[in-house]
Amino acid sequence: MNITIKYFSWIRVKLKKSHDLIELDKAISFKELKNNLISKDPIFQEIFKDDSVKYFLNLNELNDNDRILNNGDVLAFLPPVTGG
């Protein structure tokens, strides 16, 4: 199964990429995905420690670390917005 992660603002700049396509053997929770990402790149530790970062799953805010991710899901990591 595949999950897309989109990165914005300072997260995109820090990671030097706007998105990732994650391939998984089985369904995992958001918390497990976070741990996987941290093990690949310590920058994710900094991202997940920042309480101002919001997470969206398929355009809906995600506040549940135990939420199981499904094939085709689109996650987005959003720092505080500054439009207008």
Binding site: R12, A76, V81, T82, G83, G84
Partner: protein, 153 residues
């Protein structure tokens, strides 16, 4: 009506698109790129606006529908630009229309205040050396939004 665009827009054309004889009032908010200083105290060259377009459209639509309902508007137009903008260029336009002015004025302020806190746009200063410097959310914008949340909920 909601638009996220790279190119500029014409105020008179946008007004014509939503004008109606039923309205007695239109309120406009136009945000533009102002000259500012970077963190290293140099004049910025302009701004760069990043957007998560699918999410921003759904967030703007939610704000628009709240404004239409709360202030009994006949229309609410929101246009936001993305990409590279020079000093003085238009960034965002909000037009609200209603029978009487108090509704359109208050609704217009609500829409732009909400947009600054709740919609997936990110602003960067453009510097002399083509580098980008992130712009941070302002506490005063967050505090203002708390006032609106009491009114809208």
């Amino acid at each position: 009506m909601i638009k996220i665009v790279k190119e500029s827009f014409d105020l008179e054309n946008e007004f014509k698109n939503i004008s109606s004889n039923k309205n007695g009032a239109y309120s406009f908010f136009l945000g533009t790129v102002r000259s500012d200083l970077s963190f290293s105290n140099t004049e910025i060259k302009g701004i760069y606006l990043e957007c998560y377009e699918e999410l921003a459209i759904s967030q703007l639509e939610k704000i628009r529908l709240q404004a239409l309902k709360k202030w009994d508007l006949s229309e609410c137009l929101i246009i936001h630009r993305i990409g590279r903008l020079n000093l003085g260029e238009k960034i965002v336009l909000v037009i609200t229309s209603s029978s009487h002015r108090s509704n359109s004025i208050e609704a217009c302020e609500y829409v732009i205040d909400s947009l600054k806190i709740d919609v997936a746009f990110w602003k960067f200063h453009l510097l002399d050396n083509e580098e980008k410097e992130m712009v941070y959310q302002k506490n005063k914008d967050n505090e203002k939004m708390l006032k609106w949340r009491e009114i809208i909920n």
